[in-house]
């Protein structure tokens, strides 16, 4: 039931407890109870809108940065990861297998801001050996949703 609830919210976090209850065949009170458990365990750690600033005419620059670092004894990658992700510019940070150690997702109002962060803060940080910055040119699909609109299904309104 927990997983079904999380899946429903993942599709649409604005459903009310009553609507969730109807979809799950339980009461709204039971939904509220499950939600508080899921939130307490951080299985659900937030509710945010999926936004596309581009469509609202707002300029935004996004970059994906490959970061090579030196892990430290005792802390491995976690210590340096924490130093990096505490900057608010960093939206996501992942430890990766393969070519680079971290993959860092960031956004800013301009290219200049991103360059400033990388050259002044990130590249100069102790333990960071190398960075490679990729600027995002166009988004086709994000969080499971195609940004050029979902395809529609045109059915006859009534068939036997």
């Amino acid at each position: 039931m927990k997983f079904k609830l999380m899946e429903l919210l993942r599709q649409n976090a604005r459903l009310t407890n009553e609507q969730l209850a109807a979809r799950l065949g339980i009461t709204a009170e039971e939904v509220a109870q499950l939600l508080s458990e899921l939130e307490a365990s951080r299985a659900i750690y937030g509710y945010k809108a999926l936004i596309n600033p581009d469509a609202a005419g707002e300029e935004i620059v996004e970059a994906i940065v490959e970061v090579h670092v030196s892990p430290t004894r005792g802390e491995g990658f976690d210590g340096i990861a924490r130093r990096i992700y505490r900057f608010p510019e960093v939206r996501s940070l992942y430890l990766m297998s393969g070519g680079s150690d971290f993959l860092l997702f960031m956004e800013a109002k301009s290219l200049k801001e991103i360059a400033k962060f990388i050259t002044e803060k990130l590249a100069t940080m102790d333990g960071v050996k190398e960075t490679q910055t990729h600027f995002l040119l166009k988004k086709y699909k994000q969080d499971g949703v195609p940004l050029d609109g979902e395809e529609s299904l045109e059915r006859l309104p009534v068939t036997p």
Binding site: Q19, L153, P157, V158, P160
Partner: protein, 392 residues
């Protein structure tokens, strides 16, 4: 040159076509089509798109130029894959070379089966309420349909006493459809065993339309032909439309004893030649890669089913929980309205479309069919409309 009036031209129409009763719900369907902004639970097809992997495979095959005819029986690769899929899913055993023909939807399978079997005057038992095309297809094939009703009090299951009463010395076959459109009823193994004993007793063939088999919510679908001795008198009719959300691809299949299939392929080869090639390649991908897509759609339908059945019962419209397909068949007798009055008034006052039970046979009177192949939001809107309509 003489100008013929419409009525003169109409005299050219073959009598059995002219006399074919027009679909009882034509008028209602037209009313729905003419109404703007309808919340419709009247649709008999999935509200999911065909899974992308199937569509992408079809595009790839088109690029490779797969645009020619296939064998009359259908693409051999598809028949081989289908035979092993049927074995894996339902424990069926069909020879892909002689016992399977790929058709243009389940509809063509029903048509060629009946045309290959019926001589003028032969009778076919049609268990109703049922899908709209069985009886007309029997008539077009020169046969005579004999309706055998099922009832809500009996879970819309087969009643063998009533079936026996309908048998005459001209009865040649029986059409059953489980999971059922419109009732959602399924048959359990003991019913199926009785069915095959009944068919054996009267030497009847059974056309078993199992198009909704993959949409079974309670337990696993038992295919009639998987029962001992059943295969020799069963024609399995099914297709890709409902399970894989592929209605527009028009692809079905017919499985049965080799001699019968050969006779049916005779008609198929002269009238159809072969099912659409590109759809056959798409179906191949469906069988190979889409178990999880089907399971996900089934789970979504189940969630909607639970919601709508509960809502109908709470509104005072007794509705059995359908074990399969995607229809809820609600009893509206307490309202005092006929099925058509109920649906017409609901459409006029609330713009909610559901289908009168009478569309599916005489014993559908007093019932309405709501399809839950519609988004949850639509189901909620429809229930709200229905609730206002009933003054609750």
């Amino acid at each position: 040159m003489t100008v013929q009036t419409t009525s003169q031209i109409a005299t050219k129409i073959a009598r059995r076509v002219a006399e074919l009763p027009p679909s009882g719900i034509r008028r209602f369907f037209e009313l729905v089509l003419a109404t703007e902004g309808v919340v419709s639970l009247g649709v008999g097809e999935p509200d999911f798109q065909t899974p992308w992997t199937i569509r992408e495979q079809a595009i790839y095959e088109l690029e490779k130029g797969k645009t020619t005819y296939t064998s009359n029986y259908g693409l051999r690769e598809l028949r081989v894959e289908l035979a092993s899929w049927l074995a894996r899913r339902y424990g069926l055993s069909y020879d892909p070379d002689t016992e399977i023909v790929i058709t243009v939807g389940g509809s063509e399978a029903i048509d060629i089966a009946l045309r290959a079997l019926l001589d003028p005057g032969d009778e076919v038992l049609v268990v109703e309420p049922c899908y709209v095309s069985y009886a007309p297809t029997v008539i077009l094939a020169g046969g005579t349909p004999r309706y055998v009703p099922t009832f809500q009090e009996e879970g819309f299951r087969l009643n063998f006493d009533r079936l026996r009463e309908a048998v005459t010395d001209r009865t040649k076959a029986l059409v059953v459809n489980y999971p059922n459109n419109p009732t959602g009823a399924t048959l359990r193994q003991p019913d199926l065993e009785k069915l095959i004993r009944f068919a054996t007793e009267y030497d009847l063939l059974v056309l078993s339309d199992e198009i909704y088999a993959e949409l079974t919510y309670e337990g696993h679908h038992v295919s009639l032909a998987a029962l001992p001795v059943a295969k020799e008198r069963t024609l399995l009719i099914s297709g890709f439309s409902k399970a894989f959300a592929m209605t527009g691809w028009r692809l079905g299949y017919l499985c049965g004893p080799a001699e019968l299939i050969a006779a049916m392929v005779k008609i198929h080869q002269y009238t159809i030649l072969c099912a659409p090639t590109i759809s056959q390649y798409a179906a191949l991908e469906a069988l190979r890669s889409c178990d999880e897509d089907v399971a996900a759609m089934r789970e979504e339908y189940r969630r909607r089913r639970d919601f709508i059945v509960k809502a109908f019962n709470e509104l005072g419209l007794p509705t059995l929980t359908p074990d399969g397909a995607f229809y809820a068949f609600a009893n509206i007798k307490a309202t005092g309205l006929t099925s058509e009055e109920f649906c017409t008034e609901l459409l006029r006052s609330q713009k909610v479309a559901i289908v009168p039970g009478t569309a599916f046979g005489p014993s559908g009177e007093g019932f309405v069919r709501a399809s839950y192949a519609a988004s949850f939001e639509r189901l909620e809107l429809a229930v709200e409309g229905l609730s206002r309509f009933l003054g609750k």
